[in-house]
């Protein structure tokens, strides 16, 4: 186990992913129109990917364990390190899920306000500033796309019932 480093894990994960794709490539309908089959090109890419990943795996095993591999993995430390990106992804995910309900305008304002509050300071003054920034920036963009560029952005259930 001492010879396992991060790259080895990644290489193994990638190899499994390519294997799944390769297996799935057998579901691609085969045709006989005298042209190259639809499965040929992706399978060719997957063979190359597997070969390259095998080289990557070999390189990673040859490189030996990570310098910091002796330190035990701490979930708390990991969460702290990736605090901002994780919050951003989580909020964006919620924004996309609630888009049919809240619509782009309300959802967008809520997204920017939440992002600013999570990433920045949370004093009452900052919250006021964040709210103002969220309203002005998203309303401005929404108006620009809706009226100037003629794009009909998702209105959401709340907006349409109002």
């Amino acid at each position: 186990m001492s010879r396992i480093n991060r790259d080895t894990y990644i290489a193994l994960f990638l190899m499994i992913t390519w294997a799944v794709f390769f297996w799935t490539s057998f579901d691609i309908r085969q045709i006989d129109y005298g042209t190259m089959g639809a499965e040929v090109w992706p399978r060719g890419i997957l063979v190359i990917l597997m070969a390259l990943t095998a080289v990557y795996l070999f390189q990673s095993i040859k490189a030996g364990p990570d310098a910091a591999s002796d330190e035990p993995f701490s979930l708390k430390g990991w969460l702290q390190k990736y605090h901002n990106p994780l919050w951003c992804y989580a909020l964006y995910f919620v924004f996309l899920l609630t888009l049919p309900v809240l619509g782009m305008l309300i959802g967008g304002i809520a997204l920017v306000f939440c992002l600013l509050t999570v990433l920045g300071n949370r004093t009452p003054r900052d919250l006021m500033i964040h709210a103002a920034i969220a309203v002005v920036s998203i309303t401005g963009m929404w108006a620009l796309f809706t009226y100037a560029l003629g794009v009909i952005l998702p209105q959401g259930m709340i907006f349409t019932t109002l």
Partner: protein, 561 residues
């Protein structure tokens, strides 16, 4: 005929709205380029959604304004605060910042601005003259040649993009795989849709591109909780009055350096995936080697500002040459422009200039005009830049994240594209953190379907693979692709390992073979010339006793520095 096309293109561009949009684009590019952490590609990507509703010429002119502005914007922060705004201005900082610290910030900025202007203008002239010629050569290409060209674009991208070639190649191949998801464009057969109807359509490459590149870049910028809450530049930028007249005279006086650096920029831009990040360092290195006073470099020497700034702006012209003549994006920015053309049902290919001459000439003219706009708007942008540096990073990132979603929705009016943006944002962020370069993957996604199409056409003509090696252009690109695989090793070991002595002569000799196979007299003669140069280089190495020259390692040291 040409005159008619030029006049028609001028008519397309000479509207109040287009001029204003170009000016706004140029200022936006200047500011975005000046902000450390924001790249030109991101600025162009964020401009794209605004251009959906515009006519093609207007939209592309706006994006070209952002592109040219961005290339010049990096010098402001590089010179005034010592942090290059974009990787394109890394070498500008070597002499620009010391000159500013020595009490001449206005002259340093002036040198940068005028070198950018002349570099851009030289490349605009080369764009107008070279692109149609290259397109004429492109018309000779057969399916085997095209496929080999795309493979070369991917291998050189993988080779130049990161430290680990294997990771670069995996990223490129992964991009090709992503492009296969959905119905195939030849027979309409479903592939890798895992039962999902939404996936049948495949991924539009712009949400993929913006997710991979812009989304993940923003999250990388705010990863550090303390830095995310700080203003964009903690040191604070100090404004300075640009010394235009003196700087223009100084730039023109060192015209040899200017022309050499501009040509380096154009040539680097023509190479697929080799952008201004590389050209500014190459030009700086060559200027230092050619200088009679190399010891002055790094102390605030004017030549050290002129070389990188002229080269990075000239790169834009080179990248546009490849995109317009061959339909192959020179870098991420031209990949986005290629996307913009596809949105307007314009397919870039060798026949692009002859099929849509008005649009092609509009691009030429817009590029030319954008350089003048950059020159005129730099002083105003400098004041704006000082204001923007007070904004905190997390505020900008939050607004742009929301804007990415709105902009992407506007592409096809479907929320699936926003989900694509989200998932590829995660993939891009993970790839960045694991050291996988994103540029090869983006090129893979962009070129995947085109590559498959040409391969399919080639195999429809013949299932024999020998035409890949018997067609001169195909062999030419295969040779380049093979050598490009060793290019990153060559760069890092140059000046230290003996094998690197044979890399360039070997490449030239190998390239002479397909040149000899080409029809006519000019190309075989050029092939002979390549062979003679290769022999001369070997003779020089022989006279040196087959020993490496440690001075050759300078470029690598500079790029690492």
């Amino acid at each position: 005929m040409i005159l008619e096309n030029i006049l028609a293109a001028v008519q397309e561009l000479a509207t109040f709205k287009t001029v204003i949009l170009m000016a706004v684009g140029t200022v936006a590019g200047l500011i975005a380029g000046a902000i450390p952490g924001f790249t030109i590609a991101m600025a162009v990507v964020l401009t794209l959604p605004f251009t959906f509703g515009m006519p093609p010429a207007q939209g592309l002119a706006t994006m070209i304004g952002v592109f040219v502005g961005g290339l010049s914007g990096g010098l402001m922060s590089g010179i005034l605060i010592g942090i290059p705004g974009t990787p394109s201005s890394v070498a500008t900082t070597f002499d620009g910042f010391p000159m500013a610290r020595n009490g001449r910030p206005g002259l340093a900025l002036g040198l940068g601005v005028w070198a950018s202007f002349f570099g851009g203008t030289i490349s605009a002239v080369l764009l107008v003259t070279l692109a149609p010629q290259l397109a004429r050569i492109g018309l000779e290409f057969q399916p085997w040649d095209y496929f080999a060209l795309i493979m070369f674009a991917l291998t050189i991208a993988a080779s130049l993009a990161g430290e680990n070639l294997v990771k670069g190649l995996i990223a490129a191949a992964f991009g090709l795989l992503v492009a296969t998801i959905g119905e195939d464009s030849i027979n309409g057969i479903a592939r890798f849709n895992f039962g999902s109807d939404a996936l049948l359509q495949g991924f539009d490459f712009l949400p993929v591109l913006i997710g991979l590149f812009a989304f993940s870049q923003l999250l990388t910028d705010i990863e550090d909780r303390v830095r995310a809450r700080q203003a964009l530049t903690e040191t604070g930028a100090v404004s300075a009055k640009i010394e235009h007249r003196k700087a223009a005279v100084m730039v023109l006086k060192s015209w040899v350096n200017l022309v050499r650096s501009s040509f380096i920029g154009v040539f680097t831009g023509i190479l697929p995936a080799a952008g201004s990040t590389i050209s500014n360092i190459l030009a700086y290195d060559q200027a230092k080697k050619a200088s009679k006073t190399p010891e002055k470099f790094g102390t605030g020497f004017s030549e050290g500002i002129i070389a990188p700034e002229s080269a990075n702006n000239a790169t834009a012209g080179g990248a546009l040459i490849t995109m317009m003549a061959l339909g192959i994006p020179g870098d991420i920015v031209t990949a986005v422009m290629l996307g913009a053309l596809l949105i307007h049902d314009v397919i870039p290919s060798p026949s692009f200039i002859s099929d849509t001459p008005v649009l092609a000439y509009a691009i030429f003219i817009a590029f030319f005009v954008a350089n003048f706009m950059m020159l005129g708007l730099q002083s105003g942008a400098l004041r704006l830049f000082v204001l923007v540096t007070r904004v905190r990073m997390y505020i900008l990132a939050s607004i742009i994240l929301a804007y990415c979603g709105i902009g992407i929705f506007a592409l096809n009016n479907v929320s699936f594209d926003m989900w694509t943006l989200f998932w590829f944002g995660i993939i891009g962020y993970i790839m960045r953190n694991l050291g996988f370069p994103l540029a090869p993957m983006i090129l893979g996604v962009v070129l995947g379907r085109i590559a498959e199409l040409w391969l399919s056409r080639a195999t429809a003509i013949s299932t024999d693979i020998s035409p890949f090696f018997t067609h001169p252009w195909s062999l030419f690109f295969i040779v380049l692709a093979a050598f490009s695989l060793f290019f990153s090793a060559y760069q890092s070991q140059r000046g230290r390992k003996t094998w690197t002595l044979f890399f360039t002569p070997g490449l030239l000799a190998a390239l002479s073979v397909p040149m000899f196979m080409m029809v006519g007299t000019v190309r075989p003669v050029l092939g002979g010339l390549l062979l003679v140069i290769a022999a001369y280089m070997l003779f020089k190495i022989h006279r040196r006793g087959w020993k490496v020259d440690p001075a050759d390692a300078d470029v690598h040291r500079l790029s690492e520095g």
